[in-house]
């Protein structure tokens, strides 16, 4: 990013729309279909103004089920297809994710997480949808979930979500939380290349006359083929999209030296901003602490964690739920001790609370 790019003050929700415009450039049509829900409504508000000006289509659908289905159709027709929602809407979209994965439609869903379950706390943050994003569909499907922690990164990861969805022909979820969605920060709008439409993608309306079905189907003909062999072939093919490319997709960021730290704190989203503040303070006081911030929650950086797991030391997973990603960390940390630092929602830990937690481990 060049320094002389003019900075603009935007919320995370606004930045999503700017990220879409970067992804589409002047080459691609954006189709945004959504349903209003706090705290994601502002994405739709901005999209309704910006996207039509950008040559795309904005539509407010009758519900979230319709929204995800509409973008699944639009994705197959060659659009940059997007929706944004929050917990209750995300639950309604579960079946649609499976459908989009099954028909290999490139779609992006933004989930601005709030406190749950059910209606929960519409105007307060939460991180309780991490496992839902991974598993919240019947059957097996490939999953990519990105988690930004600032307004600038929201723009960049929106672009990245579009790129990944178009590269692997599958739904990608961008998990914000209420704090990131509503916080305002000055950001630069970078010049990024428009994401090209894969010339081999048989989009609807170009004479390919292809059938796309949610039924188990043959990979060559796309026509229904319902038997154990077809299921084996199809589902493995779908899962391999992420499994075989996990190393390319996985992203994380570190602060301090996780390989040699006494305590490693794992976090993501807005919570990571507290953790980073605390880790920096602790390190200034000569405490050997490090942070790993997940940028892709899924696929999970399991190889990196396995490399770190050489001696017994504490891996603390700080998150605003009852320990969803901790379960994943526990799968790969066998020599070290995994513990959680959790709040149920509404706020993130203060740096002071994290420092206290570090102290109880190091003393």
């Amino acid at each position: 990013m060049t320094k002389d790019t003019k900075r603009v003050l935007l919320t995370g929700n606004d930045a999503v729309v700017e990220g879409l415009c970067c992804a589409a450039g002047n080459k691609r049509r954006i189709v945004y279909a959504g349903y209003p829900i706090t705290p994601a409504s502002e994405v739709a508000t901005r999209a309704s103004v910006v996207i039509p000006k950008h040559g795309g289509a904005f539509i407010q659908m009758e519900d979230e089920i319709a929204s995800i289905q509409a973008i699944a159709g639009a994705g197959l027709t060659g659009a940059i297809a997007v929706t944004a929602t929050s917990g209750p809407g995300f639950s309604l979209m579960s079946e649609g994710f499976g459908f989009a994965a099954m028909i290999e439609s490139p779609v992006v869903c933004v989930n601005v997480q709030r406190g749950g379950p059910s209606t929960g706390m519409p105007t307060w943050m939460g991180q309780g949808d991490m496992m839902q994003a991974r598993w919240g569909t019947h059957g097996e499907r490939p999953v990519i979930v990105l988690v930004p922690n600032s307004v600038q990164e929201t723009l960049l990861l929106t672009y990245e979500s579009c790129r990944l969805s178009q590269e692997y022909f599958m739904p990608v979820v961008l998990m914000l939380d209420e704090i990131i969605g509503h916080m305002e920060e000055p950001i630069s709008i970078p010049e990024l290349p428009a994401i090209p439409l894969d010339p081999d993608f048989d989009i609807i309306g170009k004479g390919h006359r292809l059938h796309r079905t949610g039924l188990t189907h043959d990979l060559q003909t796309n026509l229904p083929r319902i038997n154990p062999d077809a299921e084996e072939e199809l589902v493995r093919y779908l899962l391999d999209k992420v499994k075989k490319n996990a190393k390319k997709i996985v992203k994380y960021e570190t602060c301090g030296d996780p390989a040699n730290a006494d305590v490693v704190i794992i976090c993501y989203g807005s919570e990571s901003r507290s953790v980073e503040a605390a880790v920096k303070q602790a390190r200034r006081r000569n405490s050997n602490v490090a942070m790993i911030r997940l940028i892709t929650a899924w696929p999970f950086p399991k190889g990196f964690l396995q490399e770190l797991d050489r001696i017994d030391r504490v891996f603390m997973v700080a998150e605003i739920n009852a320990g969803q990603m901790r379960v994943e960390v526990e799968r790969y940390i066998k020599k070290g001790t995994v513990q959680g630092l959790n709040l149920m929602g509404g706020r993130i830990h203060t740096p002071g609370e994290i420092l206290d937690a570090i102290k109880t481990i190091t003393h």
Binding site: A66, A72, G75, T123, M183, T213, L223, A277
Partner: protein, 472 residues
């Protein structure tokens, strides 16, 4: 006649031969609807590459798999929104939804209603066979009163929904009814539906063997042929079709041009004021700010969030290199609840985005403080600026000695001179005068940047009034 090669079949181009034979029961008439659709497309002469069929789940939804077109076999009930996505991505395409009564009117009922409102040029061809056939004939939204199904073995107690009546009410620009036993009439209806430039709906009555068997009806097809009456013009009475005792009216109930964009009569056209150009010049400089935490708190509707934005924009004007973050807290209500905005300005990247102890606290009302049990949180060497017309002064008696307190009746000044809504800018003017965090011109430029057209003068005057008050 010698045996014809399958490739010579008149429908060969539009059928997926490899999918044959189809799954439908012998005696089922869905195939005839499929053929009527093929003939409609052939008669219209449309490029089949531009025709898309989207279907959901059910016997009739399987049509999508047999037609050699771009087709989507979506999830149950969701054919309409999926089709809408296709249409939005490429408005050139002719998009048709095919499905049954359970799929389109039952589980997809909400989408069916919304499609009429949305008004896009799409067609819904709904095959009504009075129940859920694929799963063994459970009752559906159109099952006639008293009809036996596997889930209403004593006869359905539910009043059936009339698809044509619902489509008319939902705003479809084309609505027709036909049956699978009148293939030429059906094809004509489909052609007119595709030609209509708005949302089109055709209800197609079809017989189902499962329904016949369970209700001891010899032949629904014979019944359709006996009771059906194709009419040139249809009246309101013809909409009613609920059981097989009366006549069934077939034909086009509505075929109207696509709706014009109408003017909303409830809203008065806004007068656009001649845009007077305002300009505030300011100089950017190195602010020398290391880390400042500012909190503005008050009641929703007082412009607390706008105030925070003004501060950040002002800081960006003053020192473009400065990092800043603004977070806000408010309840679900837009107005009247507690509201606070945290602004952090820092020379370093900002990690924790909330103000823990403000260096500068702007109290527009005391609601936040009272919710906290009367506590006023501020740095021991910090500054408090209060709107004395809104804040209970007794709350300030316990603040530390090092805290500077400035008072301004911002709301009062705004009410007396302008409008209450600009109280936040009176506050900004006062803050610019009494504290030295951000330059006056930078704040004024920020206010100008976000003032709605026509209110620039009032907002800037409010700022000046606050600034003057600080100097007296």
């Amino acid at each position: 006649m010698p045996n014809m090669e399958i490739s010579q079949h008149p429908y060969a181009d539009l059928l997926r031969i490899e999918m044959m034979p189809n799954i439908w029961c012998s005696g089922c008439r869905i195939g005839r609807v499929k053929n009527a659709f093929i003939e409609a497309i052939q008669n219209l002469g449309h490029n089949a590459d531009k025709c898309v069929v989207v279907a959901g789940i059910g016997c009739s939804s399987r049509i999508a798999g047999y037609l050699n077109l771009d087709s989507i076999h979506a999830t149950h009930g969701r054919a309409i929104p999926t089709a809408l996505g296709v249409k939005l991505a490429n408005p050139e395409l002719i998009v048709t939804v095919m499905g049954g009564d359970g799929d389109i009117l039952g589980i997809g009922g909400n989408h069916f209603l919304a499609m009429g409102r949305h008004g896009h040029d799409m067609n819904v061809f709904c095959m009504n066979n009075y129940g859920y056939s694929m799963t063994g004939f459970q009752h559906g939204p159109t099952t006639p009163l008293g009809a036996r199904t596997v889930t209403t073995s004593g006869g359905s107690p539910y009043v059936p929904l009339n698809p044509v009546a619902v489509a008319l009410a939902a705003g479809y620009t084309f609505v027709a009814r036909s049956t699978s036993s009148h293939p030429y009439h059906l094809m004509d209806c489909m052609i007119s539906a595709i030609n209509n430039r708005g949302p089109s709906f055709v209800e197609i009555l079809i017989p189902c063997m499962l329904f016949e068997r369970r209700n001891k009806i010899k032949s629904l097809e014979a019944l359709f042929l006996e009771k059906a009456n194709i009419k040139e013009t249809l009246s309101e009475e013809d909409v009613n079709e609920t059981d097989f005792s009366k006549e069934i009216s077939l034909g086009i109930f509505r075929d109207m041009p696509v709706r014009e964009k109408s003017q909303l009569t409830l809203v008065k056209p806004t007068k656009k004021k001649a845009a007077k150009k305002y300009h505030v010049s300011f100089k950017s400089r190195d602010s020398g700010i290391k880390h400042v935490q500012i909190r503005m708190e008050g009641t929703g509707g007082q412009g607390i969030v706008q105030g925070g934005k003004t501060l950040i924009h002002a800081a960006m004007n003053m020192d473009p290199e400065l990092n800043s973050t603004m977070t806000k807290r408010y309840g679900p209500e837009m107005k009247g609840g507690s509201c606070l905005t945290d602004v952090i300005l820092s020379s370093q990247p900002i990690d924790y985005p909330f103000v823990e102890v403000p260096d500068l606290l702007l109290m527009m009302s005391d609601i936040v403080s009272k919710e906290r049990g009367g506590e006023v949180v501020v740095n021991d060497n910090g500054t408090i600026v209060v709107d004395e017309s809104m804040v209970d002064q007794s709350l300030l008696k316990d603040v530390a000695d090092g805290v500077q307190v400035f008072k301004v009746p911002a709301t009062q000044i705004a009410r007396d001179n302008f409008k209450v809504v600009v109280a936040n800018n009176v506050m900004m003017g006062f803050v610019a005068k009494t504290t030295s965090i951000i330059d006056k011109a930078c704040i004024k430029a920020a206010i100008l940047g976000s003032a709605p057209p026509g209110t620039e003068e009032m907002n800037l005057a409010a700022f000046d009034k606050g600034y003057e008050f600080g100097g007296s």
